[in-house]
Symmetry: C2
Amino acid sequence: MTVSKQVGKVGSVEAEGMCPYRLVLEHLTSRWGVLVLIELLDRSHRFSELRRAVGQVGRPVSEKMLTQTLQNLERDGLVHRDAKPVIPPRVDYSLTELGREAAEQVRALARWTHTRMPDVEKARLAYDEARELRSRAS
Amino acid sequence: MTVSKQVGKVGSVEAEGMCPYRLVLEHLTSRWGVLVLIELLDRSHRFSELRRAVGQVGRPVSEKMLTQTLQNLERDGLVHRDAKPVIPPRVDYSLTELGREAAEQVRALARWTHTRMPDVEKARLAYDEARELRSRAS
DNA sequence: CGGCATCCGAACTGATACTG
DNA sequence: CAGTATCAGTTCGGATGCCG
């Protein structure tokens, strides 16, 4: 009997007992998924281009995590992987139509965050100050 | 000399060397942050209500993680914490105006994911099938 | 009830080494 | 270049005990 070796499901917990759409949402909102989608919204990227571009905004991505992220997004039909059989290898990643819709939502959220940063920083100062006062009150 | 005990920054990596807005975005898109914001969009919740509600969609949240998530969101000025000095204690969490804006973006993304699930599942079948074929080709 | 502090196993992440 | 495999460090999450 063939063991069937368990296809799909790259990385992350992906446990059972939760709504299926939750898994896709986790891929979209994963640490690197967010940045990858936004990058690809501009244009298609090669693997190492993506790695550099993403590293500009967040911290550097390990190639393993980038691979995992891309495979998840590809499996969900959000990212298209175009591997050209040349030497040295060249692989281009781009958004599918489905992926473009998702990426636009994600970018909207990212932009909102960016424009609202001043308010967030203000809130943080107030929060930290209040905490400071409470700890002072012995 | 007082050690000042390092205020702010609850849980998560929060490392240096990345754009500041990236941190807020990570709070918004964190595993539990997403679900908490969506829940609070309906109405304010008590701590244990949130815990139950979030557990419906995703897997159960540990109280530790929920606490951490809420503290991050509160510090960013997205969630308001109202602790009533009664016995037994009662704490209500609700969205601030800032948080409501964010939560609506997040919910939009979640809804999109939900409506597009059929397409995603179709893509997954195609992906897994293609992978199956490739592995068969010895 | 709504936390906070600690310990500990499990899962995730990343640097390294290796393949095509 | 674009990955895969592996090993070690970090974070996550549950369990437990304590406090207001």
